[in-house]
Symmetry: C2
Subunit: 369 residues, 2 copies
Amino acid sequence: MRSIPGPIAIVGIGLMGGSLGLALRAAGVADVVGFDPDPTTRDTAREIGAITRNVDTLADAVAGATCVFVAPPLGTIVDVVRDVLAVAPSECVVSDLGSVKHSVIAALTVEERTRFIGGHPVCGGEQSGVGAARADMFGGATWFLTPTAESRPDLYQRVYSVIAATGATPVAIDADVHDQLMALVSHVPHVLAAALVNQAAATAPSGREALRSAGPSFDDLTRVAGANPPLWADILRANASAVGDALAQYRQRLVEVEEALQADDRQALIEIVAAAAEGRRRLRTQRLAGASDGETWEITVAIPDQPGAVSQITTALGHGHINIADLVLRPGPPGGVGEFVVCVDGAATANSAVECIRAIGLVAHARVL
Amino acid sequence: MRSIPGPIAIVGIGLMGGSLGLALRAAGVADVVGFDPDPTTRDTAREIGAITRNVDTLADAVAGATCVFVAPPLGTIVDVVRDVLAVAPSECVVSDLGSVKHSVIAALTVEERTRFIGGHPVCGGEQSGVGAARADMFGGATWFLTPTAESRPDLYQRVYSVIAATGATPVAIDADVHDQLMALVSHVPHVLAAALVNQAAATAPSGREALRSAGPSFDDLTRVAGANPPLWADILRANASAVGDALAQYRQRLVEVEEALQADDRQALIEIVAAAAEGRRRLRTQRLAGASDGETWEITVAIPDQPGAVSQITTALGHGHINIADLVLRPGPPGGVGEFVVCVDGAATANSAVECIRAIGLVAHARVL
């Protein structure tokens, strides 16, 4: 692993910001500067070792930083990101830890986008606050990054390295694709769970409460219901368009079930449940897969000297479900052709990676290390 | 516990029928006769001790039985119940273990209903078949019973005693109420889970598969998806009306979320999630409650000599969430007034029980034992 350049700043030190600090300190980052509007939080963060310095203003936090992670409550994230970009050094990369990405990027100018790479570590916990922070929060987790065509490749490489140091797997993804996926696999499930609890709580035919008859399947479906109402209201609002679309599609799937019931169409019902069985099987199989054959392959791509190329390649690999073990950028002369090198595990993954890169019109070569 | 009169017959020996046999044998029932259309299943059932005798025909199984439990696949349950009622002795009570109740009762004549008490033990397992049967299947489980106005009180008392011997808690409930509740807490959750998996499996923006981004909340929501497609198709069909109604109501709840998203109504979204938090809290609290103060109370009800009274009392107590620890019927002279005695745990429960019974116009007295 390449050494992490410091200092790194964390703005907003709750569960995620605090865990990031602990993880970076555990990875050997010497200087982690922290700012939080709450002075007590700043003090606690330093006491538990999540930061090495606490400062009183946002400007002090980002002054001299090479990398700033913004992790305030989701509802304020756009404003804080813009505040940070306004005072951060021009060579500093700014990222965030919010669970919705399009709305942040859409709020930035083209210039701001060259220095901002959105991020979303897919992990967390029941508790909140810096007191619940832990250094192993990100180990093995997917950490989505949403570079854009404007993102500076060197800044992307830097934030990639810092994130990889936490133990997370950075995965590049288009911001809109990210938001659509999160709508479906996270935000809609929370809505479905809440709606089911609320309907059961409101149902008591002849006085017999539905909630009192709840068994294991109801428990499974509703376990995530009701967590942190203001936070979830803000998550849903930040991703309103994608969540609304997914819910409308979902309602249509329920209508199909209702129509099959009305028609007493046994075969249609069997097919709906059987398709779900196949989906669950795929989900399990994909998780078991991904074991490497032990060989690391290096894929070298000749890239033109334009900012969008690295974002395009890593996003293509992310969409193609290819985990990047390491990533090196070798810029060419100004206006010339540079090299971009990604490392992956196993020959099969290397072949898939080469195909993904060729599909976007670039030349890639793979070799085993 | 009163001794269980034998022989007891089990018709259809899968996971549930086999477990019932094991539980009854463990409770000391001397004679458990079993019939299953598959001879190998019958042999296995006797080998594992789920039944003491296996017979070759349904008529042989029910001949001389005091109590018959029908536990075939749900799709055939109405036919098998009617076949059993056609050959069962007139003094024999017939029950079933199906998870939907209205459709069975609706298929019976008034005379058949005097001898049939529908049942539904709320338990089960991932596996199926008599090989997976276990004696402790019913321990602590709710076992719904759906007596009707036509049910003979002595037969209800008998099936109640047999079920209590398995370790289950018998709870009387109106068949339609039962089906509405099961639609909401079990059948709809299975539909929601299947629809969510199917939507995720069909979603792959820019090639990035939604299923591959699934995290813990998606797992929770979809754990029950895809189980046994033909069985679940039949469960949904058997409860088509209640499931269809619940799904339509549920879609309306999703529309409310979509409208709040479109209006960017943060307060409405917070209220929806907060209501779910409150529902989950009630669910947990109700499960922790129910601890008795150690005293058993006996509630005596004077009942007119008419079949419906006992069903009416026990169903009222079931709807009122009052667990009956024991139940004794003391018939009066023909045409006269008899006594019905139920035992409950704790003074508070006894008071609630008396209120429930008085609310349906009967006189009840409670005393501590």
